[in-house]
Symmetry: C2
Subunit: 308 residues, 2 copies
Amino acid sequence: MFDVCLLGTGGMRPLPGRYLTSCLIRYGGHSVLIDTGEGTQITLCRTGWSFKDIDTILFTHYHADHIAGLPGLLLTIGNSGREEPITLMGPQGLRVVVEGLLRITGKLPFQVLGRELTKEEIEEQREICIGDMFVTPGKCSHGGMPCVGYSVAIKRRPRFDPERAKAAGIPLKLWRVLQQGEEAVGEDGTLYTPDMVLAEERKGMKITYSTDSRPTKAICRLAEGSDLFICEGMYGDPEKQEKTEEKHHMSFQEAATMAARAGVKELWLTHYSPAMPDPEEYLEVARAIFPNTHLGKDRMIREFKYED
Amino acid sequence: MFDVCLLGTGGMRPLPGRYLTSCLIRYGGHSVLIDTGEGTQITLCRTGWSFKDIDTILFTHYHADHIAGLPGLLLTIGNSGREEPITLMGPQGLRVVVEGLLRITGKLPFQVLGRELTKEEIEEQREICIGDMFVTPGKCSHGGMPCVGYSVAIKRRPRFDPERAKAAGIPLKLWRVLQQGEEAVGEDGTLYTPDMVLAEERKGMKITYSTDSRPTKAICRLAEGSDLFICEGMYGDPEKQEKTEEKHHMSFQEAATMAARAGVKELWLTHYSPAMPDPEEYLEVARAIFPNTHLGKDRMIREFKYED
């Protein structure tokens, strides 16, 4: 299935019992990690999930609380026995930052590939295929620092409909190829296409992750129709709204408004200010706007299953 | 007084409940921190000790498990309100590593000063004055990576002896200057020296800290007569001796042997391998060699008071 684990929920600095905001997504034996603040490897260790399966690390931006844990994490992945390359992906600046941080790792037992997102990929929200997952970046607004949110989606191949295949008179030995979404040519030269044997589209799954941003239309568009929207809620107290804006962050109210506009199914708040020890106090502020809001907690896990 | 806190006791990677080896020493309102692996700021936060008083950070070497926590720590020190400069000190390579790591901190509210130790300072174990503390580096042997141990000492001015001052006929108004260790000239031109009014030397305090090294004569010399010797014990199991040597580390037995040779009062073991979940199992191995051995634990604190 499609598993999502919110490894940490803190902003700015890790606290005892609250690690920095990071999210791990597993699907089909592969894992995508979003952000690696200081301590990410400790909270990941607590989940018991594999380090070795992490193929791709996505960065929202390069403030320390989102990337300082990278060197230690890569070393621990190395010690887990991984030898296959790992791809790091993020907005402009990736190479410079990673080159600086990797000065303390020595030689790693795998290749580290950098994939800096282009402006076009971000602005046009172009889908990037990573194994069986589809990652789409979306532009955030974080006071001049290049910053992106991501949606990670699983698409489902439509179900094969043997009745349609029979009705269309398609030779039995071509069924398998068509079922896999490829065209096939019969012995008599007839071209058969997958739509001749496949039933209607099936809904896949999609989660969207966004932190360190003012609300933007781009994030709203990115999150559209998500099964889960993980969004920053730096402050819950409406009296801190001014401070939230000044620091280029997002409040509970704003995150809930975005969730409602984007028509997501569920909202998890995260990236709490260290000055807000008990986010629970303000949950109702968000629920008044978007009822299916939940407070992110360290190592909160969701298994997504297909609806049908 | 002179307070020592072993912030973490882990080697290689931070574990839930075992942070990476780091040590904070407080004296007279100033703090010296040795090593800042990933998570150091979290364990420091648990102690309740001040971030703002950290004036100097000493690095043994630049493997990630000893320095990856630096960017986050500096940001948190900045958020504590510190504006005075911080000095980073370590062996060869300091500037390159720090320049790389600080790419993710943005502008800090204080100046970061780099003080790379020279080969002569390390080889000759030259004393460096830091406020009221005296720091001495000593050469470690860690497989080619420049690496040092440190001793941190407090010296005490000898007590003033009014009987001696009277007997020497020193004018009363010069007593204060002489007491402070300075020379003074009387109205009649007579030169008075501090030794005329001061009693015998008084023992100060000294702790020595060494990790990531094979046993060396230099560390033994550095640790000589220490009140406390904090030393790596990567493995306790005598069967892991070969592995310990291969990885350029030190075993419980070797640390205890060093402690005995250096004539220290007390030994704390630290920097345990993640593969050794229960160091307690091997404590007796070290105690058979050096009875006053203790197992370092995260946030173990010792207040040192003068003997007299």
